[in-house]
């Protein structure tokens, strides 16, 4: 940190300290995460000193949250941009997305992006994922109970059909749940060309191989292994760059972006979509997460997006 810090950058910590938080920055964090990484002890510490320093978010439904900020508690509709603007009305934010679901952080990022608010996003890697006791698929982890199905993330609905349905790409940010991308893909007719993106390097050295293994059926069924793209699992910027590269290769194509991989990848894809609203569409299937799906906290990443201007087209 300091004067030499580039405009957009990732800072990585094993121990996040009060000194790492900007003085004017307001933190947005989950108050009900069941994962250790979603309950950062530092936020409690900072809130104890200054309750206005942290906005606590509790998930109520796919479209609504309860927010505690200072002494006030209120419910907010994630489909109401005015309510989100009123909530996020300070000049600087640090969004801790580790314990927030996509349907919460994505509309927040949209609001901050649209209003050019100075934003940093924090993501804490888990130490490990829960293994499945009796796996029936190549997915060795036990992460979700079920998926609720494809419905737009709040604020990300697209109604216009692609102008040429033969010129569409399905870009899937792949993760450990190999059953998820195909369901999103099969909602599209006719089925577009598939470009998979895998997190390399992964959070752990073996994770990329796990990802390929978990998605073996998908990769072979759609014959897309030759189109495989790589982006660091913890880096939203690399995903943005990959998507920009894909766009260069397919300049007049409509991109369906399936968020079924890591959160940093989902974050990168979301920001790319915000910059390219006319020819991208976010697809998300709303998995219902298992309690205790991860254990511990490993590396903590803080991504500085400033006011997002660098990402605008």
């Amino acid at each position: 940190m300091g004067e030499a810090e580039p405009q957009t950058t990732t800072l990585r910590y094993f121990d996040l300290l009060p000194a790492h938080i900007h003085p004017e920055e307001v933190i947005v964090a989950s108050s009900d995460s069941t994962e250790a990484r979603g309950r950062m002890a530092l936020w409690q510490e900072l809130a104890a000193k200054d309750p206005a320093k942290v906005v606590w978010v509790k998930h109520l439904s796919r479209e609504s949250i309860e927010v505690v900020h200072g002494t006030s508690t209120r419910q907010i509709s994630l489909r109401n941009s005015t309510e989100i603007e009123e909530l996020l009305n300070r000049d600087q934010y640090l969004l801790d997305i580790s314990g927030l679901s996509h349907c919460v952080w994505a509309p927040f990022v949209k609001s901050l992006f649209d209003r050019r608010v100075s934003t940093r996003v924090l993501y804490a890697e888990p130490r490990s994922y829960k293994s499945h006791p009796s796996p029936a698929s190549s997915s060795v982890f036990d992460l979700s109970i079920t998926v609720e199905g494809a419905t737009p993330l709040p604020g990300f609905a697209r109604l216009a059909e692609p102008s040429d349905e033969s010129k569409c790409l399905f870009v899937a940010m792949l993760g450990f749940e190999g059953n998820r991308p195909e369901r999103l893909l099969l909602d599209i007719e006719p089925i577009p060309k598939v470009i998979p993106v895998i997190g390399v390097p992964g959070f752990r050295i073996e994770y990329p191989a796990f990802t390929v293994g978990c998605n073996r059926t998908f990769l072979t069924s759609y014959n897309c292994s030759s189109e495989l793209r790589l982006a660091r699992a913890s880096c939203p910027y690399e995903v943005i760059q990959e998507l920009a590269d894909i766009r260069k290769s397919y300049p007049d194509y409509y991109l369906y972006l399936a968020l079924v991989g890591t959160k940093p990848h989902a974050l990168g894809a979301t920001i790319y979509s915000l910059s390219n609203p006319e020819n991208t569409e976010i697809l998300f299937d709303h998995p219902v997460r298992k309690k205790g799906r991860t254990d511990g906290v490993e590396l903590i990443h803080v991504y500085n997006f400033n006011n997002f201007d660098e990402f605008r087209v």
């Binding site: 941009s81 005015t82 029936a136 979700s144 079920t146 609905a157 109604l159 216009a160 195909e182 998908f218």
Partner: protein, 627 residues
């Protein structure tokens, strides 16, 4: 044949069968489209619902009605525009888009107003395309006044040309998108009335002479994606459809969840309001054979030495041939060796018989728990009875022949036209995938030589197993309860696999089941099974006859036959058993191995090293919680 030439022919063959949606390419549409047996019903003026699972050809059938596709099809038959009686437009109900019209604190009535505006816009967008096409075909222009009336019904002013109308629709969809994303903030949209612009447009095309006496078919695909209130809205259009407009709806089985219309008292009824075409009941075998044979003919036309009759293309084994390939000879040798020692007279009787009969003594001996010598004597004295018995049980015995033979790669063959059609069970996509995979296997190591190309029973079997495995793995990602369904299919398939290999009890062809046990558990399970039926994990039919009082549910379920080769069980619908709902639900928990043992009434399961390789892949599941 040069290498390039050969590679080219292989590519042609794989494209013909590999691209299951080859019909969609407009250049190929006329050449590869096979008219389904129900096409006449579909092209009748009356609205209709085309009902079928994924892969049954709904979309292709609706696509074939689109104005340009139908024209291309007619042209390939030597007909022309004047012969075209209907003009389809196609509107797909994309789930991600139509589900955006919900939530946000807005009630369904208000969402209905936005949604009907959206539907009007999408449909009018297609009608614009139809207008441009018709103008070229008829040399008649749609009058400006008519266009401005259509535009006004959508809430647009100062529009008098089709390009301007198209642009205005595009802009309006963007504005509607803002509204949907922020439903509590009024974007000041002028919402069109339900169906009014569509009807206005259709009438304009009619009165201006562009339509002639043709009917416009508004084809709506993926109707199951619509929310219940949205179905009620479209149901109203269907119920009150009048010429020159009619509706053709593609929907998955059980996808028409709501028969209400906007007037809640007034339900959508068949046959009063619409016709139902259930694809599964519409002569699938004839249609599938025609699709395959047209592609074989195309391959032949491209210079590939290939039969044009499907039954000549696919090798089919007789039961006797299959028994021998699977190892009946060795079993027969052991039977004869036994008889030679113990009953020389019986030995000389059976020594003259083919191995494909003698092995049956051993099967029946295990089945009845009777000594071979005693059965051999009985056979000699009652030969007719035994030949009938062989006729009845030989197929079932095929599943047992290879039991304990660890080295064998194929323990049961699935080949021939009838078997592949039965395994597809009305699903054209499955059928073409089976053929494509079989061709792939056949040509994997071999060459496409000058000899007549015929697909071996082995390649068909390998393909059937691979397609079953792919469908099983895909299941997890397709259905609402995909994760649960895959576990249920794996467990039920394993139960049937174990029973198929055990001659005791003579129930080797059990592939159907009814649910027994507590009503609560049955109800819990029925929810998953209904989802499984919609996504082709199971098939369901009303139960034919009650066997015990504890069978509470009337439906008889069957594992979809596409999984037969994967689980090495019969593809024929023969017998059923009762499965306890509580035990079945237990396979969804952490100890599926124990639950499967309970479903087998405690009978021992095959050791892991004896499982076929495709089932051994799931040993972590089968041994989960130990057996």
């Amino acid at each position: 044949m040069s290498e390039n030439n050969q590679a080219n022919k292989i590519t042609i063959l794989r494209q013909l069968f590999g691209d299951n949606r080859a019909e969609w390419k407009s250049s190929e549409f006329g050449r590869l489209f096979v008219t389904p047996t129900y096409q006449t019903k579909l092209e009748a003026n009356k609205p209709c619902f085309l009902i079928g699972g994924r892969g049954t050809g709904k979309t292709t059938a609706l696509q074939s009605l689109r104005f340009d596709a139908m024209n291309a099809r007619l042209a390939s038959e030597g007909l022309q525009f004047s012969d075209q009686k209907c003009l389809g437009i196609l509107v797909r109900m994309n789930k991600n888009r139509v589900h955006a019209f919900s939530g946000g604190g807005i009630n369904d009535t208000d969402w209905g107003k936005f949604f009907s505006h959206y539907f009007n816009l999408l449909t009018c967008q297609e009608l614009c395309e139809l207008s441009v096409w018709l103008e070229k075909k008829t040399y008649i222009s749609l009058p400006e006044q008519e266009i401005s009336l259509v535009a006004a019904s959508l809430g647009f002013s100062n529009i008098s040309s089709i390009p301007d109308l198209k642009l205005a629709i595009k802009r309006e969809i963007s504005r509607l998108q803002l509204q949907v994303n922020n439903p509590s903030r009024d974007q000041g949209l002028i919402l069109s009335m339900a169906e009014a612009p569509i009807r206005e447009f259709a009438d304009a095309l009619f009165t201006s002479g562009l339509l002639g006496d043709r009917v416009i078919f508004c084809c709506i695909d993926e109707y199951e994606n619509l929310l219940d209130y949205q179905q009620a809205l479209i149901n109203t259009y269907i119920k009150h459809a009048e010429p020159p407009l009619s509706y053709k709806i593609g929907v998955r089985k059980n996808g028409l969840r709501n028969r209400k219309t906007l007037d809640a008292e007034d339900l959508l009824k068949t046959p009063d309001d619409y016709a139902e075409i259930e694809i599964a009941d519409e002569g699938f075998d004839y249609f599938a054979r025609a699709v395959a044979e047209l592609r074989l003919q195309r391959a032949k036309d491209e210079g590939i030495n290939i039969p044009t009759r499907l039954r000549d293309f696919l090798e089919e084994l007789s039961l006797e041939e299959e028994a021998i390939i699977l190892g009946a000879g060795k079993i027969s040798d052991r039977v004869l060796a036994d008889l030679k020692e113990s009953d020389p007279e019986a030995y000389s009787f059976f020594a003259k018989k083919p191995a494909s009969e003698t092995y049956f003594l051993k099967y029946w001996s295990l089945s009845e728990g009777a000594p071979i010598q005693q059965l051999a004597r009985d056979w000699i004295q009652n030969e007719d009875e035994w030949l009938t018995r062989i006729g009845n049980y030989m197929y079932a015995s095929l599943f047992w022949i290879s039991k304990g033979n660890k080295g064998i790669r194929i323990r049961k063959y699935y080949s021939g036209e009838r078997t592949l059609l039965a395994m597809s069970s009305g699903n054209i996509r499955y059928f073409l995938e089976l053929l494509d995979s079989a061709i792939e296997d056949q040509l994997r190591d071999g060459e496409l030589g000058s000899d007549l190309l015929r697909i071996s029973a082995k390649s068909q079997t390998v393909a059937a197993r691979a397609v079953g495995e792919r469908r099983l793995n895909q299941l997890e990602g397709l259905a609402d309860y995909g994760v649960q369904l895959k576990r249920l299919v794996l467990a039920i398939g394993k139960v049937f696999f174990e029973r198929a290999r055990a001659p005791e009890g003579k129930t080797p062809e059990v592939i159907s089941f009814v649910l027994g046990g507590s009503a609560d558990k049955v109800n819990q399970l029925t929810r998953f099974l209904a989802d499984g039926v919609a996504h082709l994990a199971f098939e369901v039919s009303p139960r034919t006859k009650a066997t015990t009082n504890s069978e509470l549910k009337d439906d008889e379920y069957r594992l979809h036959p596409i999984f037969s080769a994967f689980f090495e069980i019969s593809h024929r619908r023969k017998r059923r058993m009762t499965l306890d709902a509580a035990n079945l639900l237990a396979v969804l928990e952490d100890s599926p191995g124990k639950a499967i043992s309970a479903l087998l009434d405690g009978k021992e399961q095959s050791p892991e090293q004896e499982l076929p390789e495709q089932l051994a892949l799931f040993s972590a599941f089968y041994s989960g919680g130990s057996k």
